[in-house]
């Protein structure tokens, strides 16, 4: 079990600002404005926000894909703006993006996963070990010699995740990595990253706009207009119904239902997030009446 005192910081941002290049004659718009965030090692953090809220921009600063226009980002204490540290930083924080087809480079699964460690100059016996471990970690060992383009979307994303794992990073950042997947593919990816977090202690930062992907997270960070507007446990965040709606986000149906029932005078808690908890709470309240 982790204790409070051993928690170290994985990623830290200080007054982080970022602006995309402005159109001619238009004012510069800050996609990130003074973001202060500390992500603990071994935690599972979901970042929510509508399109344009800055959540993907934030993710891309976590391993130096984007560099701050102001403020700092530190990965295990290393400044992402320091060019000499960039390679080390990217070995610590791996990214998985939205479209599985844009992330696969080789014609055979094992070659694809070996791509990054090869580039890092890892000896070949060690590469073999890492590829096998990475495939086992995402539950895709039997596909080692398959052609990636014949796999389903969920399988391709797991291959992309395995490609990141083969670098043996401490943290994996998924930037809307489930957006293009069907419910089964989404479930495959989510259970894979939850297992990596639980069993290997890997820090996970999951950027999404699917509320239900946040149910099991340790922490939910909500972005709006380039700023962090909420930060807490799923229960704390999802029970702030009005504030979420005002930011163009929805609340889980469980919370919506409980909110309505409370207004109807039923004695139910607002924070029974999962289907099971929600049904149990309602059944209890109705039986008591």
């Amino acid at each position: 079990m982790e204790s409070e005192t051993t928690m170290a910081t994985m990623i830290q941002t200080e007054n982080l600002k970022y602006a995309y290049p402005a159109m001619e004659g238009e004012a510069q718009i800050f996609a990130l404005q003074d973001v202060d965030l500390e992500i603990e090692q071994g935690s599972f953090v979901v970042v929510l926000g509508h399109n344009g809220s800055g959540k993907s921009t934030l993710a891309k600063t976590f391993n130096g894909v984007l560099l701050p226009a102001g403020g700092k980002v530190y990965v295990e204490g290393m400044d992402t703006a320091d060019e000499h540290l960039l390679l080390a930083i990217r070995q610590r924080v791996g990214m998985v993006f939205q479209n599985p087809d844009n992330q696969i480079v080789a014609n055979v699964v094992e070659e694809d996963i070996a791509f990054a460690p090869e580039n890092l100059g890892v000896p070949s016996a060690e590469i073999r070990r890492r590829v096998d471990n990475a495939l086992a970690a995402v539950g895709m060992s039997e596909f080692v010699r398959h052609a990636p383009h014949l796999l389903s979307g969920g399988q391709k994303q797991r291959i992309a995740i395995a490609g990141v794992i083969a670098m043996e990073p401490a943290c994996i950042v998924l930037d809307e990595a489930t957006a293009m997947l069907d419910p089964i593919g989404r479930q495959e990816v989510l259970s894979t990253i939850h297992r990596l977090n639980r069993e290997k202690g890997m820090t996970v930062v999951l950027i999404t706009h699917h509320m239900n992907e946040a149910e099991d997270a340790d922490r939910v960070v909500v972005m709006d207009n380039g700023k962090v507007t909420m930060d807490g446990t799923p229960r704390q965040v999802f029970t702030r119904i009005e504030a979420l709606r005002n930011m163009g986000l929805t609340v889980p149906d469980t919370v919506d239902l409980l909110d309505r029932l409370r207004k109807d005078g039923l004695d139910v808690p607002l924070d029974a997030l999962t289907v099971e908890e929600c049904a149990d709470a309602i059944a209890h309240a109705v039986a008591v009446k």
């Binding site: 389903s152 293009m180 593919g185 929805t250 109705v286």
Partner: protein, 312 residues
């Protein structure tokens, strides 16, 4: 207090068959014994669609759901003649679309297909020209063309001042609207949308679906919405067709389909969160109709259950 829910008077909903009867709906598309086999004669031979038969009624909002590999994409590409059946027929207004293969282009004007991520297919210099491309190819010119373009833009919520911008200056959600307008501008009798909201955030999804619902309401045209979000399908369509491994597993009004939630789950499909809550409450002995799929409907069920103690 038992779980008997079938004939409660307070639940007014209509089966798809009853609705068809009442509204006297006619078939616009008829799919008859459609089979499509990829890689015939190779070791990879596989039927993506196998002996599928169903009708699409004129003016209805039909949802098609099925998980990846169920045959959704192959099926819809047959409906406007992009793929030719290995066997079986597609009838549009009673006529086999392949009766005269040279006229297949006309079928594509009548059955408009909006692909996944259609914004990647934008290519013109301005939004206006992009929307005008389809109807211009149909032979429309001058005022008639202008009217088509502006009306389609209005239907999907593109403002006049955006018409002469480059489509590439727009946001992702706006680009998708432009692509949708380009198909609507051809005034197809049937509009097929393949995962129209994929990748959009909740507000973007709801806005786009509201545009599609408005289009359906105002134009009374047939819409086929393909999605793997059961929630999205449930909230929008009149009738659902569920596909499973190249076959039609079931079809009916949302309530008819969700009443068979266990089968949906075993077909690898999602059931709306509300339906799952209702199923669990019913298991716990509450007199709840497990086929409800909206928060409001389940709230009503629960209030009634609390008041009466009995189901009705």
């Amino acid at each position: 207090m038992n779980g008997r829910t079938e004939d409660c008077p307070r639940r007014h909903w209509e089966s798809a068959a009853a609705r068809k009867e009442r509204e006297n709906l006619e078939s616009i598309l008829q799919i008859k014994h459609l089979t499509h086999t990829y890689g015939v004669g190779t070791p990879f031979q596989r039927s993506a669609v196998e002996d599928m038969s169903f009708d699409v009624y004129s003016g209805e909002f039909l949802g098609i759901i099925g998980h990846t590999g169920s045959g959704k994409s192959t099926l819809i590409q047959h409906l406007n003649g992009l793929l030719k059946p290995t066997s079986g027929q597609i009838l549009l207004n009673g006529k086999d679309i392949w009766a005269e293969p040279k006229k297949i282009r006309d079928v594509r004007f009548q059955v408009g297909l909006v692909f996944q991520y259609p914004e990647y297919q934008l290519f013109e210099e301005t939004v206006y020209k992009d929307i005008a491309f389809g109807p211009a190819n149909m032979g429309k010119t001058g005022e008639e063309l202008d009217h088509c373009v502006r009306e389609a833009a209005r239907l999907v919520g593109i403002r006049d001042d955006q018409l002469f911008k480059s489509p590439f200056e727009l946001s992702g959600g706006q680009k998708r609207r432009v692509a949708l307008a380009g198909v609507i501008a051809m005034e197809p009798q049937v509009l097929i949308l393949d995962e129209p909201t994929a990748g959009l955030d909740p507000a973007g999804r709801e806005n786009l679906l509201a545009n599609i619902r408005d289009y359906h309401r105002n134009k009374k045209r047939t819409i086929i919405l393909v999605s793997h979000s059961m929630d999205e399908i449930a909230q929008n369509v009149d009738r659902i067709l569920v596909l499973k491994s190249a076959h039609v597993l079931m079809s009916g009004a949302p309530q008819e389909v969700f009443a068979r939630a266990d089968e949906l789950i075993s077909a690898g499909l999602d059931v709306p969160q509300v339906t799952r809550i209702a199923m669990r409450l019913k298991e716990k002995g509450l007199p709840i109709d497990p086929a409800v799929y909206t928060v409001r409907a389940l709230e009503q069920e629960l209030l009634a259950a609390r008041k009466g103690g009995a189901a009705c």
